[in-house]
């Protein structure tokens, strides 16, 4: 490994070290997996998307794809658990999406939320709207997903993220069989 590439890693190491200590963690990854897939064995299957796949997902969902890593786990029954993060208003929201073997949404869980505002996205009533939606559904605020008055931005950004993940399932995960 060349020295210059190690230098590139320095900011990442610094970021890891300075990771916010007080973010409210509602669920661990394992808890979220258990909530969606019960006691099924979960196998980590992270995928690095290539440029063409990122572009295809972007076109299908209308949402910019900013990272090449798809943080995916495969459930024993063939379903998928996807971990993702979006910006709410100015802070990160970490959430997970559970998909069944047909790509239908099983559940949406919020793992970490850092803002004082907009935490309403954790309300079960809001998250329930996504259940059973899949590729072909609009998955858009103002269409088949209703927003929350006090959490407009958080709702929009999580909904956009889910639309991007569902497109990633159709284009990348589904062909894996």
């Amino acid at each position: 490994m060349s020295r210059s590439s190690r230098i590139c890693l320095l900011p990442l190491a610094a970021l890891a070290a300075s990771a916010p200590a007080q973010a409210t963690v509602y669920l661990s990854i394992e808890d979220a997996q258990r909530a969606m897939f019960g006691e099924q064995a979960m196998t980590a299957r992270p995928l690095t998307l290539d440029a063409a796949q990122m572009k295809a997902i972007e076109q299908a969902s209308g949402v910019p794809v900013r990272g090449s890593l798809l943080r995916a786990w495969r459930a024993a029954d063939g379903g998928w658990f996807l971990l993702d993060a979006v910006i709410g208003k100015s802070e990160l929201i970490t959430y997970a999406l559970g998909l069944d073997t047909q790509g239908r949404i099983k559940q949406v869980e919020v793992l970490e939320y850092r803002e004082s505002h907009g935490g309403e996205i954790r309300y079960p009533g809001w998250r329930k709207q996504f259940v059973d939606k899949t590729v072909g559904n609009e998955l858009r605020i103002g269409d088949d997903i209703d927003g929350i008055s006090g959490a407009t931005l958080s709702c929009e950004h999580v909904t956009d993220g889910i639309r991007r993940l569902v497109a990633a399932w159709a284009l990348v995960l589904k062909p894996l069989g």
Binding site: R66, A72, G147, I148, S149
Partner: protein
């Protein structure tokens, strides 16, 4: 790792040698011996350099051998995906930093900017000399994160473009507070804060309401943007109920102008302090509750009250008090948006004051109120473009009851006004909107007008 530690230190050695040689060459000596010494030193340095290069080669070889050994020992991924271009590398997703993390971390920054604004045009039906175009407001917000639970939120607003002695503009600090989160359920704001009453007062970006101009109820009855200095405690429960409690500065009755129409346009708005050397002897309190537990539905209400005498001689011995309360509901389903709000306000113990100013243009109202109902339906969308027509019906009275008016020469209670506003919002993106509407006033028909506006928001 050994390579990691050694490389910088070997570099240091070279640097130290260079520094030493520079230092020694600076010493005064005879020209000949200096030449000799220098040659010797250059030789010595060259040898040192050769030694370092050899050391480096050895270390590189060692590192290569180690990494080869590691990759040979590494277990193969438990499931090797069959022939797919998707899988380029195996990384443990919970530990490895990625471009996505870097991007997200870059956005997880300490200072952040936001803003909103609107440029409006009003054309009056009956008197075009009143026609006006203005930068209604341009607002820029600066936030700063001190740590993960403590931030500054600030907003600076300019109304009507130019602020000077000769122009009608205003420059305001609209919000300036510290937001601190104690835990999942409780957070607080301290400083210049918005009172969470109704919809518009806390959500007044032009992309978030219909109509070029803000609705009458939430400007005349609720004096948006109503803000005070103080402290609030707020938070939410897990199943849809959110609360906000506050202790703030209050209004100042000494500023009531019996001879100005301002108190009839917006009774509370004519005497709010906006934390500009606000009188602070009497404080106000508020409670606000909202329920969002059912997708698409919001309803709630709030009460805001406090004394307004501020220990000044306002002309009455009693302690005059204001009370403002409202309830609101909104239902959003797909392209449909329905919204309604009722607000009621009043001053108590001002009868003697009104009597002393009998016959004045604007007595202090014992009651003022208003309500509206609004419906909107997005009829078209293509990508980010969307077109949403709306209609809003409003009724309000800013002086429904003037206490203690002497028969014959007192002020009559005001009449209730009815306004119908209909128009449309055309969104270029969800955060940039072009608006057009027509407003019909049943009584003040001179205010009937056609409005055009540009509104935007960024964060």
């Amino acid at each position: 790792m050994a390579l990691n530690l050694l490389l910088p230190s070997s570099r240091h050695r070279v640097l130290a040698a260079c520094a030493l040689s520079l230092f020694t060459t600076a010493l005064p000596a005879a020209a000949d011996s200096r030449q000799e010494q220098l040659e010797q030193k250059v030789d010595a340095l060259a040898k040192q350099l050769e030694a370092l290069q050899a050391e480096l080669r050895a270390l590189k070889a060692e590192a290569a051998a180690t990494s080869a050994a590691t990759s040979a020992q590494a277990p193969a991924p438990t499931q090797t995906p069959a022939s797919t271009a998707a899988v380029a590398a195996y990384v443990d997703p919970s530990t490895a930093p990625t471009r996505q993390d870097a991007r997200a971390a870059a956005e997880h920054r300490e200072a952040f900017l936001s803003g909103y604004g609107e440029v409006n045009y009003n054309h009056y039906d009956h008197d075009s000399s009143r026609d006006e175009a203005t930068v209604r407001r341009a607002v820029f917000g600066i936030g700063y994160r001190f740590n993960d639970s403590t931030s500054l939120v600030s907003e600076f607003e300019t109304e009507n473009a130019v602020v000077s002695a000769d122009d009608g503009g205003e420059f305001e600090v609209e919000q300036f507070y510290i937001d601190h989160r104690y835990n999942e359920h409780v957070a607080s704001r301290i400083g210049l804060i918005l009172i969470p009453i109704g919809y518009l007062n806390t959500a007044h970006e032009p992309t978030r309401y219909f109509g070029v101009e803000r609705n009458n109820i939430e400007t005349r009855i609720i004096p948006s943007t109503e803000r005070e200095g103080g402290i609030s405690l707020y938070g939410r429960t897990g199943y849809g109920l959110s609360y906000d409690l506050g202790l703030t500065t209050s209004f100042n009755l000494a500023n009531w102008d019996f001879g100005s129409a301002e108190g009839a346009e917006s009774p509370l708005g004519s005497i709010h302090g906006e934390l500009t050397n606000s009188r602070a002897a009497d404080l106000a309190q508020y409670v606000s509750l909202n329920y969002d537990g059912i997708a698409g539905l919001n309803f709630g209400g709030s009460v805001f009250t406090g004394e307004v005498g501020q220990n000044q001689d306002v002309g009455v011995s009693a302690s005059p008090r204001f009370l403002l309360w409202e309830s609101h509901a909104r239902y959003v389903h797909g392209p449909l948006q329905l919204q309604a709000l009722y607000a009621h306000g009043g001053f108590s113990d001002t009868a003697a004051l009104n009597l002393a100013n009998a016959g004045a243009l604007t007595p202090i109202p014992k009651a003022f109120y208003g309500w509206y109902a609004q419906g909107a339906y997005r009829v078209w969308r293509s990508g980010d473009y969307a077109l949403t027509p709306f209609v809003r019906f409003e009724r309000y009275n800013t002086g429904a009851d003037y206490a203690n008016q002497p028969a014959g020469f007192g002020s009559a209670d005001r009449l209730t006004e009815t306004v119908l506003t209909s128009g449309a919002s055309f969104y270029l993106t969800p955060n940039v909107v072009l608006k057009a509407d027509y407003q019909h006033y049943r009584r003040a028909s001179e205010d009937n007008r056609f409005n055009l506006g540009l509104g935007l928001q960024f964060y």
